[in-house]
Symmetry: C2
Subunit: 463 residues, 2 copies
Amino acid sequence: MYKKIDDRDIEYLRSFIPEGRILVHDEISHDYAHDELGGIEVKPDVLIYVLSTEEVSKIMKYAYDNEIPIVARGSGTDLVGAAVALEGGIMICTKRMNHILELDETNLTITVEPGVLLMELQAYVEERDLFYPPDPGEKSATIGGNISTNAGGMRAVKYGVTRDYVRGLTVVLPDGSIQHLGGKVVKNSSGYDLKDLVIGSEGTLCVITEAILKLLPKPDFSVSMLLPFLTMEKAIEVVPEILKSKTSLTAIEYMSLDTIISAEEFLGKKFPDTNYAAYILLTFDGNNMAEIESEYTKVASLCIEKGAIDGYFVDTDERKKSVWNARGAFLEAIKASTDKMDECDVVVPKSRVADFIKYTHEVAEITGLRIPSFGHAGDGNLHIYLCKDNLEEETWQKKADTAFELLYARAREYGGMVSGEHGIGYAKKPYLVKQVGDRQIELMQSIKKVFDPKNILNPGKVC
Amino acid sequence: MYKKIDDRDIEYLRSFIPEGRILVHDEISHDYAHDELGGIEVKPDVLIYVLSTEEVSKIMKYAYDNEIPIVARGSGTDLVGAAVALEGGIMICTKRMNHILELDETNLTITVEPGVLLMELQAYVEERDLFYPPDPGEKSATIGGNISTNAGGMRAVKYGVTRDYVRGLTVVLPDGSIQHLGGKVVKNSSGYDLKDLVIGSEGTLCVITEAILKLLPKPDFSVSMLLPFLTMEKAIEVVPEILKSKTSLTAIEYMSLDTIISAEEFLGKKFPDTNYAAYILLTFDGNNMAEIESEYTKVASLCIEKGAIDGYFVDTDERKKSVWNARGAFLEAIKASTDKMDECDVVVPKSRVADFIKYTHEVAEITGLRIPSFGHAGDGNLHIYLCKDNLEEETWQKKADTAFELLYARAREYGGMVSGEHGIGYAKKPYLVKQVGDRQIELMQSIKKVFDPKNILNPGKVC
C-alpha cells in the first residue's frame, strides 16, 4: 500500500540533508524502534535529524508525493507507541531543533523549536524569574512531544495543562504546506480552532516545528509538605476533603510505600520517611508567604484531623532532592522492578480519585497482578502500572487484558477518560472506541482525512 | 438548493412541539431577523423554542433528512450576523433551555443548559461563594452563545477566556446524533479535541445543548481604580509598562472621554469624572487584601510617574454602579449616537495595543469617519466602532470598506487576529480569508463538511 523506501528516495533525501543528519537501515539505533515503554518495536527505514521548518516541509512534500509513511519523534519518552514508525518509512527526529527563538517579556511569551526539552525550557525561564507551569514527571521529554499529547503534569490542579500555555504553532501539513496557527494573542475567535485540534493529536495531523508558549511571572515562594498515613485508604480519602476546603493548592500527589521503596532501590537513595503505608505530597505556591502559611496550616490541620500521622516540610535542599528525585523516578523504578509492564493513564473527576484507587486494589486481587500506582490525586489523573513479574507471556496477556477492561469500564462509569496525558497512540485505540463510541471515532477519522488524505503521517495511531 | 419549508413540514414539527413554542412566518417577531448590530436581516420560516436535547435532536434529524436549513440562537446579542437565518428555514431558540442542572462543589463544576444567561450564571455561583471568571460586557448573552464565540471579556488578562472554563459539552450533530464531549475531568488526552473545535465554531458544526463549566472559589476582595490622563496617547502608553511590572491584574480597560460622554447621555447618569481626555480602569482581585494593596500601590505609582493625573478608587456602591454601568453601556451608547455603525473586534499582542489604538485615530483622519473605541487593553482585544453619522449610504460603505481594510491589514502586520471574541459570522468572512489564507480556509471548510455534509446548519457563516 505504501511505497517502500528505495535507493532513489535515499539519494533524493541525501541531496539536501548532509551526512551525519541522515541514517538509513542498519545505521539506525534500535532505540528509534520503540518508545519508553517498548510495547511495540518497528524500525524506520530512514532517520533524519531535521533542523528547520523548511527542511521538514521539503521532506514531507516528498513523502506525500511518493506515498511514503513518515513519523515525527522528539525524545521518544511516550508510553503508548505514538512515536513508533509502525509502517517503517521516514522518521524525522526534532531533537536538534532545540533552540529558544525569542523571549518576549512584554507579551510574556517564549517562542521555541519543538526539540527543546521540558527541563531546558523550565531552567531557561526560571533563571529569568519567569515560570512555565506545566510540569510532567518526564523532564527530558521535548516540548513538541508535550504539545502533541497535551501533557498535564503535577501542577495542573492550579495551573492547567500544556494546552493552556500554547498560544501559537507553526506546523507542516502532510503535503508540505507550512501554516501558522494562533499567535501571541490572548483571545481568539477567528474561525475554527485548528490550533487546539493539533494539540494532543499525537503527530497524526501535522508536524509542529515552532511553538509560542505563554509564561507567567515566577511565584516567589513554593512550599511542599509530606503527610504520612497508616493506610492508602486513609490517605486518599483525605483528597476530596482537601478539594472542598477552598484552598488553592499547586499539586496533590499520592504515593504508596511500595512505590517509594522501588524508587529507593532504583536510585540507591533514601526517602525521608518509610515508616508508613501511604503518603500525600502537597505543594503550595504564590507571592505572599503569609497567605501560603495560612493555607498550608489549614490543609495540614484538616489532614491530621482526617488521619495523617504527621506533616513534614520538604524544605531543606537535601530533603527536596530526595523527595522530588524519588517522585521523578517512580516510572523507571516500577519498570526496573518487573520484566515487562503496561500502563493505564485514566483521568476521572477529582471526586472519584479515592474510589478509583481503591478499585485498582480490587482489580489486583481479581487478576492476581501486582498493580502499583501513583499520580496526580488533585486533578484525577492516575498512573497505574500492571506488572508482568515473570508470569508466562500468555497468562500475562490474558490477565492484563482483563485488568484493562475492568479499569477502563470503571473509569467510563465514573465519567472519566481513557487518557489524561499520555495519549492514545497505538496501544489504547480499542479503549478510545469504547469510550467515545463509533460516531466520534468516525468524526476523528474524517478529520484525519482532511489533514492527511493519503494517511502518510504517523499511520495507525489514535483513530 | 435547500428545501423550502411547506405545510407538511410545519405539520410534522407541530406533531411534537406544542402551541406556544412554535411560530411560523408572520407570527415570528422581526427581532429574530437580525442580531444586535443588525447588519443583515433575514427572517426564519419557523421559530421553535426548544426545551431539551432530545427535542433538538428530533428537529435536527428532520431538517437533515429533508435538507432544510437550521440555525440555533440564544439571546441574539452577537454583532457579526452569526445568529441570523441567512437561508430561512428553521430557527431553534435556546432561551427556554435555561436551567442550572447541577452544581458540583467537589469537582467545582456547574452543569447548565445553553439558554442560561451570563448574568444569571454569575449571580447563581457568586451567591454560593463561587466564581465564573469569563466576563464579557454583554451580560444578557446566553452561555451557549458565549461558548459558540469563545467570548473573552474583561477578566481575560488574569483568568483566560470562555474556552478555559468549558470542561464538557453535550451537542447535537446535524444528523440528529447526540454526543458528549469532554466531561468533569481536568486533563484529557483521549483522541482529537472535538470539544475545543466546537467552542468558537459559531453554531456551524453542531448545536450545544448542555455544558459543564469549571468554577473557581470566589476571590474575597476585588478593587478597581480609575486613572485619568490628559491624552489618549498618554493613557495607552502606560499599558505595556503595567504589563511589564509583573503585577497580577484582573482587568485593564481603556475608555475615551467621548465614549464616556456618549454613555452618560445614553444612561442619563453621571460618570464620576469627565475632566480628562482618557481613562484607564484597573481591577485587582484576590484573597489577601495586603497583597492587593501592595499591587495597586505599585501600579498606581507607576501610572502617576507615566502621566496619570490622579487615581480614584471605585469603592462606594454608588461609584461602582456609575463606572460599571457606563462601561456596560458603551456599545449601546455608541449605537445610539449614530444612525448606523459597524465594528472591528481585532486582537493584537498586548505589546501593540497602544500602537493599534493610535492607528485607529489615523484611520479616522484618513477616512473622515468617527471611530470611537474602547476595550480590553490588558489582553489586546479592542472594540472599534465605525460610525456612519448620516453619511450617504454609498459614501459610508466605501469609507467603511477602506477603514476595515486598513485596520485588519495593520492587525495582521502586528501578528493580530480578525476577532478576539465576537467571531466571524457572516460579516467578517473576507477578512478571515486574508488573515489565515486559502489553505486554512480549505481545512475549515472540509471540517465543516465532516460534521455537516449537507451544509444545513447555520449555512453561510465562518468559512
